[in-house]
């Protein structure tokens, strides 16, 4: 039991940190521009495919640096020449723009790399067992993913709270007009945040690609959960996104590990299922694990619409 708890915690934290890498950028973009970037997970996918291609040509480590820069660069261009133009026509247009972008990116990826999963492997230098808890091996690559995610979280937190550019970004989140009046180039800040945000999603793609599956539907599999993180964490709150990511990672992993069901819970009190809920009776928590984050989303929206650490309404 203890083994299961420890391994599940490790797995949950790891999944949570991957979510955070993506959600951190998304939440900043959301709160700055007031627009939900549907295409955010597409940059995660681009990161994974760039990472695959570059590690094929140059090796994993150069890819680890170049792929996020390239994806972030594309992100910045999208903001400069796409979103900024569309911005004039209001939020609906922006929303539709990012929505359309997801399909464009998916089709492009399919045209270049095909629809099959690509053979993106863990680099040999990280392909060993880091440590063994009880009898379960924990791969070094997963530790590397974890370390990268934590390092980026700390760097981001420091940059936002301790540097001048961080102060301006924070100010632009709440009072963009005032910041512009003070002589700062707010559009450029937006572009920077968009570029860095999509670059972070690409980092997640580069490191998650070998561990998960790199294929053209990976954005669609992960996209919806990012919005859950952003809403649960609270708009524009980095700490909120961090907590929400870990929460969702852990909830999902532990739900899978659980065998509890209504039958088990209520069995001793009322043996035999009432006819109306017979189907629900024996469903285990593990079976509904994939729905858990969305349940959380619904509950948060009802009980605390600003999110865990948010300060203003969505």
């Amino acid at each position: 039991m203890l083994e299961l708890v420890i391994v599940s915690t490790l797995n949950g934290v790891l999944y949570g940190m991957l979510l955070f890498l993506m959600a951190s950028g998304l939440t900043l973009i959301f709160s700055m521009m007031g627009v939900l970037n549907f295409a955010h997970a597409s940059f995660y996918m681009l990161g994974a495919f760039f990472g695959f291609q570059l590690s094929h040509w140059l090796g994993f480590w150069p890819a680890f640096v170049i792929a996020p820069l390239a994806a972030g660069g594309i992100g910045a261009l999208v903001e400069r020449y796409g979103l900024r133009v569309v911005h004039r026509h209001g939020h609906v247009a922006e929303l539709l723009f990012t929505f359309g972008l997801t399909f464009v990116v998916q089709e492009l990826v399919q045209m270049v790399w095909g629809k099959l999963p690509v053979d993106y492997r863990v680099p040999p230098s990280l392909d060993f067992t880091a440590f063994t808890v009880f009898s379960t091996n924990y791969p070094a690559y997963k530790m590397f993913e974890l370390a990268t995610a934590i390092a980026i979280f700390l760097a981001l937190l420091t940059a936002l709270t301790r540097t001048r550019i961080g102060l301006i970004i924070q100010a632009a989140l709440t009072h963009p007009n005032m910041v512009a009046m003070l002589g700062h180039n707010v559009p450029r800040i937006f572009m920077l945040v968009f570029g860095v945000g999509t670059g972070l999603a690409a980092v997640a793609g580069v490191i998650a690609g070998p561990a998960l599956v790199t294929q053209s539907d990976m954005a669609a599999l992960l996209g919806p959960i990012l919005f859950v993180v952003v809403v649960v964490g609270g708009l524009g709150s980095l700490a909120g996104a961090f907590i929400a990511s870990l929460l969702i990672g852990l909830v999902q992993t532990f739900a899978v590990a659980s065998n509890a069901s209504l039958a088990g819970l209520l069995g001793p009190i009322m043996p035999g299922a009432p006819a109306v809920v017979a189907d629900l009776w024996n469903v285990t928590v593990a079976q509904v694990a994939p729905v858990m984050p969305y349940l959380l989303l619904v509950l948060i929206l009802i009980l605390r619409p600003v999110g865990l650490l948010g300060t203003r309404d969505t």
């Binding site: 599940s8 797995n11 949950g12 629809k115 099959l116 053209s216 599999l221």
Partner: protein, 415 residues
């Protein structure tokens, strides 16, 4: 002006779309409807290559009844609704024979669609050849005259697996993990039922279902299997679900025996080798590369040479195409109704040797089945998988006569 161009372009498109119908008479078209994107693509794509390879072979010999054979791939996305759209698309393109295999949920939708379509369109019937969807209900309560199945159904496979497991005294604790849809549920309930009958001493320590082709990391599931203390895992997973399960087991160093339906799919062999599970992963199938039968080994050599080392995954596809061609030649017609009448009672020598026959009551094909284990090549076996140096080895063979299971099919036959 612009509009004129648009109209012209649309007109050209429409004409282009019509053109193939005009030449349909001298081409035998087979629509292949399977996942060609997403989590099932790794197996769907390889299945398509099998059919294309066989079509090329036939065409090199002058085709069937002098007609060129053409296999057209349609992406089902492993989704029943999407598949029906693709079936309709295929019918609109003049196709009368469709084949499908991956996902029994898709198979059930197509079987139902084809039956209704054929009722509404007499003399324009569609033939549905199923090479891999093994949910037993397809040849039982849902059975249809227009559906033929070449793979052994899930209960035949589980019967074979559990008969073998019965003799393995090292099995004490079994963990079931399956995909959450009709086929996975049927594997799960059959395994439970048969194990309780054949080995009441075995403890079933876990019974898990997970979303179909949506899980990207099986580490949480593997942690749970490990915590349960299971020494044996039974799974019907296919596509990325089996490859990723084996990969996660490899990463965590889970030492257990795996009794599977599809461990041979893309990525599976590599993961087994990585965990060093020599001779501990078993699969139940209708044949494999190392069956000592000269014609199938010669076919295997030629297939691998042409497809860059890809092994023959689906002997049943060869059986299906062989029988389809035989039926067309005997009937001297490509009319689905005439082909079906010939197929119903056909007997052939199957790909890996031995007798196979189509049962006319439910259109289920019966053939010798093998239990194979994966490990270092021994006893002159020549073929490995995915360049691992390891290959399949027969550990049990079930003759055709012993694979026959009863059916409750009450087939409606065209009058």
């Amino acid at each position: 002006m612009k509009r004129a161009y648009l109209v012209a372009a649309l007109g050209a498109l429409a004409l282009g779309g019509m053109a193939p119908a005009a030449t349909a008479a001298d081409t035998l078209k087979i629509a292949y409807i399977d996942p060609l994107s997403g989590g099932g693509a790794s197996v769907g794509e390889i299945g398509l290559r099998h059919f294309e390879y066989l079509a090329d072979q036939l065409n090199a010999k002058g085709g069937v009844l002098g007609m060129k054979v053409e296999v057209i791939g349609y992406d089902s996305k492993a989704n029943p609704q999407e598949s029906l759209i693709q079936v309709q698309k295929a019918i609109d393109a003049g196709v009368r024979i469709i084949t499908q295999g991956n996902s029994s949920a898709v198979a059930a939708a197509i079987e139902d669609f084809v039956a209704k379509y054929n009722d509404r369109n007499p003399d324009k019937e569609i033939l549905y050849l199923n090479y891999a969807a093994v949910d037993p209900s397809l040849t039982n309560e849902k059975c249809s005259y227009w559906h033929f199945r070449w793979d052994a159904s899930a209960d035949i496979k589980m019967e074979a697996l559990t008969n073998y497991m019965k003799t393995r005294s090292n099995i004490k604790k079994v963990y079931l993990i399956n995909q959450d849809y009709s086929f996975g549920q049927s594997v799960r309930s059959e395994a439970r039922k048969m194990l309780t009958n054949k080995r009441p001493d075995i403890d079933i320590v876990g019974d898990e279902v997970h979303p179909l082709l949506k899980v990207t990391d099986f580490a949480p599931y593997v942690a749970k299997i490990k915590a349960s203390g299971a020494d044996t895992v039974i799974t019907g997973n296919w596509g990325q679900d089996i490859a990723l399960l084996l990969k996660a087991a490899a990463d965590a160093g889970l030492q257990a025996d795996f009794y599977t339906y599809y461990a041979g799919g893309a990525g599976g062999p590599t993961a087994i080798k990585q965990t060093n599970l020599a001779d501990r992963v078993f699969v139940v199938l209708e044949g494999h590369a190392n069956v000592p039968y000269a014609p199938s080994q010669a076919f295997e050599d030629a297939f691998r040479a042409k497809l860059g080392g890809q092994s023959v995954w689906y002997p049943r596809v060869v059986n299906e195409v062989t029988m389809l061609v035989k039926a067309i030649e005997e009937a001297k017609s490509t009319e689905p109704a005439k082909i079906a009448a010939k197929l119903e009672t056909m007997k052939i020598t199957v790909f890996n040797g031995g007798e196979g026959f189509m049962r006319n009551v439910d259109h289920q094909f019966f053939q010798p089945m093998y239990i194979a284990s994966f490990g270092p090549l021994t006893d002159g076996a020549r073929f490995d998988e995915e360049h691992t140096g390891w290959g399949w080895k027969t550990v049990g063979k079930i003759d055709t006569g012993d694979t026959i299971v009863p059916t409750i099919c009450k087939m409606e036959r065209p009058s």
